[in-house]
Assembly symmetry: C2
Homo-oligomer: 174 residues x 2
């Protein structure tokens, strides 16, 4: 009758990260078809005062990795934000998926009532685990994921919501 | 040690809908400051083959309302998609918030293992309640919410992620 913290976190991140890796393949194919350098995507943004495409991906990977680690009460490995190509962004997603696979579901579930302390820019904030997942890690993750998708959409990459959703567990057409 | 379906659904939708209502106020102020008709926003999109701004809002309102109703096993009121102004979009959000407030948390929690049947374009699909919330209702909701936000960002409305997140329950700076 309820959801475990693990159920709400790691499988969501995994589904979305795998989906976005496939979206990056479509972005590469679009660049090839339109004869432009795919590195052009890296600094694209919808407005000058918005984070660039590559940064959106680094951030959603980190919300997945660090959010899950904080719930599990362990330290996540730190990744440098130094990707300069779509291949390197795909590798960043792969590294993130490997970290996600390393978490003990029981440790994540045990984070529901623990106080989570995390950085917010130069400051620190705290929240109870369940609230942190539902009202901070997930909305932040989806925000940067959808923004990265929107930038590719704006760039003309032929993707749709099905690409964004990825493989939805248990979804059955009737 | 676990989350209720209610905890993962209605409060998420409420936080985000209230946040977006305030974002619409900033969009109206931006239109006034730049001396353009705020109705211009209604048909804005990032690409010609993308749903327009107003439609994104109608859809995320419906994912919140219909998603929660399906989990609760009740029929949600159907809203016409006929908004032509920011004020009417704000009213749509208010109506959606009223429906969300009417659900019995226990009925939503009881939907975790129930089979949910829903329309996907012209087809029908089914999923178990817990999966439906985590892997379908929430990602769809956040997708259209963030896309609507991205369209306003692209239009120059001075909003940031804090506007998108809204009032985060239990978030405390330390």
């Amino acid at each position: 009758m309820s959801l475990s913290l693990y159920q709400c976190s790691v499988p969501t991140f995994e589904r979305s990260l795998n989906a976005f890796s496939a979206i990056l393949d479509k972005a590469a194919a679009h660049a090839a078809a339109c004869k432009f350098d795919p590195a052009v995507y890296m600094t694209m943004r919808l407005r000058p005062d918005m984070l660039a495409f590559a940064r959106q991906i680094q951030i959603f990977c980190d919300h997945a990795k660090n959010g899950s680690a904080r719930l599990a009460g362990v330290e996540a490995p730190r990744f440098e934000d130094n990707e300069v190509s779509l291949e390197e962004l795909k590798a960043r997603i792969d590294k993130t998926l490997k970290v996600l696979a390393s978490f003990d579901p029981k440790a994540i579930d045990a984070g529901a009532e623990r106080e989570i302390v995390f950085s917010v820019g130069p400051a620190k904030a705290k929240m109870i685990g369940a609230n942190y997942l539902v009202h901070y890690a997930l909305p932040n993750f989806y925000f940067h994921l959808t923004t990265a998708y929107a930038i590719l959409r704006y760039a003309g990459v032929p993707v749709g919501k099905r690409d964004y959703l990825g493989v939805v567990p248990g979804f059955t057409l009737i």
